[in-house]
Amino acid sequence: MSLSQALLNQDRRALSRLLTHVENNSEEGRKALDELYPHSGKAHLIGITGAPGTGKSTLVNQLALHYSKEGKRVAILAVDPSSPFTGGAVLGDRVRMRDLAGDPNVFIRSMATRGSLGGLAQTTASMVQVFDAAGFDIILVETVGAGQAEVDIAKLAHTTLVVEAPGLGDDIQAIKAGILEIADILVINKADRPGVENTERALKGMLELAHPAPRVFHHHGQKMALPAQAPKADDPLWIPTIKRTVAKDGIGTKELVESIEDHLAFLHEGGEWATRERTQLQTTFESLLRENLFTRFLDELSPEIYEETLSNIMLRKQSPWSAAEALLDRSKA
C-alpha cells in the first residue's frame, strides 16, 4: 500500500512519513501531493501569528484542547526559525503543548523555516495540504515569532489570529502597515497584565481609523487577479474583533473560539471562502511556476556561460539588470 493510501486510512506513521517527504520536497512527496489533492479542501485553516513571547504556542495549546473536547480532529503545524548560519534549528513549541500529549484527536508537527522569510517555510502550504487530505477538521498553523512584515500566513489561512500582549508598543505601531492589517481576529493575550486597557484602546483606535474593505493582496506590487465575481456592494464585510485571553490559564478561549466560528460563518456567507481559497492556491501555483521556470532555465544554460556572466557582473563590466536580460533573450533565440 502506498503511503498516501495508508494516510487516507488514518495511519499516523504514514502521515508522519509523508510530511517528511513533502517537507524535503522529495519525488515521493510530490507524487503523494498529487494523489492527495482531490481529498483536500475541507479543513478550516487557522493561522496564529504575532511577536515572539506573546504566547502563540500556549494559545494554540488551548485552542486545540477546546476543539478536541468538541470531538474535532486537530492538526498543529508549528514553525520556528532555522539558523541563517548553520541551517540548524531548535523547535521548541511542543514545550507549551504538554496538555495535548496522548490526545488521539491531536497531531503536532514542528517545522523549521529552512531559509524562507515571511514567517512560514516554503513547504508549509504543502504540509497543510497533507493534513487536510488526512481528514483533520481544524489545522492550526503557528508562524515564527513575527515582527512587522511576516504576513504570508494571511495568504494561507482562512482565519488569521494576530496575537498581541500588553506593553509591546504604542498607537503608532498599531497603524503601521503589515501584521496588524492581516488580522481577522486580534487577540490580546496575557490580559491579566498591567497595560491591557492601553493595548486594547490602541488596537481599537487602529480599527476605527480603517475603512473595512474586501481584501485584495498586492503581490510584487501587482494586485493578485480578482475572482471572476467582483465583490458586490451589499456583500457582508468582516470587521476584525478584539478578544482578551490569558492562555496559560485557559481564560477567554471559549469566547475566542466563538469569534473564530463567527468568522467562519462570514466566510461561507459572502463568498469570501472561495476568494481566500483562490488566493491560497494561486500563491502555491505561482510559486511552483516561478521555481520550476528558474530551475529549468538554469538546467538549459551552460555553466560556463553562467560563470562568465557572473564574473562580468563582478568586474562591473555588465550590470546585473542587463546581464539578466541578455541571458533571457539568448534562451529565446
Partner: protein
C-alpha cells in the same frame, strides 16, 4: 532539492528538573545544522514515543539524571518499536553507572554519554548512526 536534514528529538524523561545538559546538547546539535525538537521536562516514555512518531525524527536523545534509566529506557525502546520506528536511534546522556552501560547498549541504545562528554563526539556519532541507517 533541499538536503535531507537530520531531525532529533531531545527530551527529558523522569522527575528530576535539571535540563541544562539537554539544552547544551540541543544547542550543539543546532549549531551542527540539525533540526532539534525540544520537548522539555518531565516527559513520560509515552509522550516521548508519541512526539518521535509525529515529528518523524531520525534520532531520540534523552537525558536522565535521576537513576531511573533502567526503567525508562526499555519502555521507550518498546514503544518506538510498537510504533514501527525501530530504525530510530536512541542516544542517552546523564549519570549512568558503568555496570548499566553494557546492558543498555545490548537493549539497543546507540550512544551513552556521561559528564565531560564532548559535544563534537555526540554530533559526529549521531551523524554516523543516521548515515549508516539510510
Amino acid at each position: 532539492m533541499a538536503e535531507r536534514k537530520i531531525r532529533v528529538l531531545v527530551a527529558k524523561p523522569g522527575l528530576d528538573g535539571h535540563d541544562r545538559g539537554a539544552k547544551v546538547v540541543a544547542r550543539a546539535l543546532r549549531d551542527a545544522g540539525m533540526e532539534v525538537i525540544y520537548t522539555g521536562l518531565r516527559q513520560t516514555p509515552e509522550m516521548i514515543a508519541e512526539a518521535a512518531l509525529q515529528e518523524d525524527v531520525d534520532v531520540i536523545g534523552i537525558s536522565i539524571l535521576s537513576g531511573a534509566h533502567m526503567a525508562l529506557v526499555p519502555r521507550i525502546l518498546e514503544l518506538i518499536k510498537a510504533n514501527g520506528q525501530e530504525d530510530v536511534k536512541l542516544f542517552l546522556g546523564g549519570i549512568i553507572p558503568d555496570d548499566d552501560i553494557a546492558q543498555l547498549n545490548k537493549m539497543g541504545v546507540t550512544g551513552i554519554y556521561g559528564p565531560g562528554a564532548s559535544t563534537e563526539d555526540i554530533v559526529s556519532e549521531i551523524r554516523t548512526a543516521v548515515l549508516k541507517r539510510a
